[in-house]
């Protein structure tokens, strides 16, 4: 049985320490610029912080992966290329890339640097994965959250020894990753290009009579009643009027939680489990990493899964197993 790595998010050096201390095998981080898909205000790492973070992780047997997973602006690849160069120079264990040109650059310039394909590249079949592996030596592919467990198992059989990584907890993109224009349509900024969906600079919350209205770039996208759990102000989680009804058209505020599915995912031959949430605080990182550390260890040691309630940190106070079970089919 493969021992899957637990890949944990860190938006700050303090979160990196929390993740390592809570049992992460790897921590993934990004630089403080638009080269990564969590380019949020006040978040992410300077070069010096990355160097210190790598030293902290390596001293405790953990790895650090650097996400450089947005698509370089046409004609201006320098910022993305220097992010790759600096990751290699500072001793990152791998870089997580999405853009095919940047992958080519990394493979040619740093032949010893381990390459992972970001979920933003949306490679979801053996042919696409095979192309990245053969052409650029990509070692691992993060699968988009659109596949069922049997589909993942079939991909693993077809692409071995290329490894796959799947998301096990956190916020969900309902679109095939890297192919969503909702945020860009409303705000002019997108996760693919600017590293941020529904940027905070365009978000306003308005309180009225105990309720709250969330607005994105002047569009009202949701209203929550008194004490009704709220969600992220992304358009895919908006509540809209259509056909005389107000409802969530794409997705309700909810978080992916596959703790109960870990035995199936391990059986499917997945090499790494990824926890979403570089934008979340240390308390979230510690709680989720501990839960999944216990979960993975329990499965590998043949013990029953721990019963851990993560409701209090989920979006909208709700959880889903997403496409892994595709209950809506």
């Amino acid at each position: 049985m493969i021992r899957p790595e637990l890949i944990c998010p860190a938006g700050t050096p303090a979160a990196l320490k929390s993740a390592v201390d809570a049992g992460a095998d790897c921590v993934y981080v990004g630089f403080r610029d638009e080269t990564n898909a969590r380019n949020f205000p006040g978040l992410n790492f300077s070069r010096k912080e990355l160097e210190e973070g790598i030293a902290y992780a390596h001293a405790r047997g953990a790895k650090v992966l650097v996400a450089i997973n947005t698509f370089p602006r046409a004609g201006h690849p320098q910022m993305w290329q220097s992010a790759v160069d600096d990751s290699a120079r500072l001793g990152a264990d791998a870089v997580i890339l999405a853009d095919i040109g940047l992958i080519d650059y990394a493979a040619r310039t740093h032949p010893d640097l381990r390459l992972h394909l970001s979920v933003q590249a949306a490679a979801s079949n053996p042919q696409a994965i095979g192309f990245y592996a053969e052409r650029f030596g990509v070692k691992r592919v993060v699968l988009p959250r659109v596949l069922t467990v049997p589909e993942i198992a079939a991909i693993n059989q077809a692409v071995a020894p290329v490894e796959t990584e799947v998301f096990v907890f956190g916020g969900l993109c309902v679109m095939a990753e890297g192919r969503c224009a909702l945020s860009s349509y409303a705000t002019g900024q997108s996760p693919n290009m600017n590293g941020v969906c529904s940027p905070a600079s365009h978000v306003r919350y308005v309180e009225a009579g105990g309720g709250i209205t969330s607005q994105l770039a002047g569009f009202t996208i949701n209203q929550f009643g008194l004490n009704e759990p709220a969600g992220y102000p992304t358009l895919c989680k908006g509540r809209f009027n259509a056909n005389g009804k107000t409802s969530y058209l794409f997705e309700e505020p909810t978080s992916l939680n596959t703790l109960a599915m870990l035995p199936d995912l391990i059986k499917a031959g997945v090499a790494a489990f990824k926890i979403e949430g570089r934008q979340r605080g240390r308390a979230y990182v510690a709680a989720v990493v501990q839960a999944f550390r216990q979960g993975v260890d329990a499965v590998l040691e043949g013990r029953p899964l721990p019963d851990i309630n993560l409701d209090s940190i989920t979006e909208g106070g709700r959880q889903t197993t997403g496409a892994y079970e595709k209950a809506w089919r």
């Binding site: 938006g11 700050t12 050096p13 303090a14 979160a15 320490k17 929390s18 949020f40 205000p41 006040g42 978040l43 940027p199 905070a200 600079s201 978000v203 306003r204 919350y205 308005v206 309180e207 009225a208 105990g210 709250i212 929550f224 004490n227 009704e228 759990p229 709220a230 969600g231 992220y232 505020p253 934008q279 979340r280 605080g281 240390r282 308390a283 979230y284 709680a287 209090s312 940190i313 989920t314 979006e315 909208g316 106070g317």
Partner: protein, 227 residues
């Protein structure tokens, strides 16, 4: 939209939990904010020297002021995160249009957030924290503070040198006292609301009876029986 600008420090739009902090807030009502200002000056100085990275992360937002409004205390704070001359001012009232953004919640929640013991998004999802105005500076502040690894008691006592350890012990004793008070306060709260709960329980029971009666009547009328 809130009806008119809200004045932080007064008529809080969230209902504060009944807690030792709320009682402390009532006790602090007569105290002039100016008397508390030195405490916050010292706090800012200490946090700034122990965690210079906070202001570094906030560099791009130095000109945006944030009101931090503990709903259970009779005052609010204005943080101006200027990298060279940051300020933390305590005020009885803050008008919403005086600041770029406001973060509002119970004091214990705000402290837990500052110390990274609670996740800001989770607090927002569960509506324990309210954010108004410029969301960007609030997110930046939240990330900068969470990333700093603040421990208020340890940070504030660190500068005391040999006295740090006894001061930490004293602070620990005060926190223990607060948490034991929380139990007593909860008992008081329960006895206050017990009559209301009993009333609500009997109303619930009566409602359930009425619902059952209506269901039975509907069934009977569908069968053509007496309506």
């Amino acid at each position: 939209m809130m009806e008119g600008p809200h004045r932080a420090g007064q008529a809080k739009p969230m209902i504060p939990p009944f807690s030792p902090v709320l009682l402390l807030g009532l006790a602090l009502r007569p105290v002039r904010p100016a008397l508390l200002q030195p405490v916050f000056d010292h706090m800012l100085k200490v946090v700034r020297s122990q965690h210079p990275d906070i202001l570094e992360r906030l560099e791009a937002y130095g000109e945006r002021s944030v009101c931090i409004d503990p709903i259970d205390l009779p005052f609010a704070l204005i943080l101006e995160p200027d990298p060279v001359q940051p300020r933390l001012t305590v005020r009885r009232f803050v008008d919403a249009d005086e600041v770029h953004a406001t973060i509002r919640g119970p004091l214990e929640t705000l402290i837990a957030l500052a110390e990274g013991r609670m996740d800001g998004d989770a607090l927002f999802f569960s509506r324990q924290l309210v954010v108004e105005g410029d969301t960007e500076v609030v997110v930046a502040l939240r990330n900068a503070i969470d990333g700093a690894g603040i421990d208020l008691v340890a940070d504030l006592t660190a500068a005391l040198g040999p006295l740090a350890q006894p001061a930490r012990r004293a602070a620990g004793a005060v926190l223990d006292l607060v948490s034991s008070l929380r139990g007593s306060v909860e008992t008081v709260r329960q006895s206050f609301i017990a009559p209301a709960l009993q009333g609500a329980a009997s109303r619930d029971a009566r409602l359930a009876e009425l619902e059952a009666e209506i269901k039975a009547l509907r069934k009977a009328s569908r069968r053509g029986g007496p309506a």
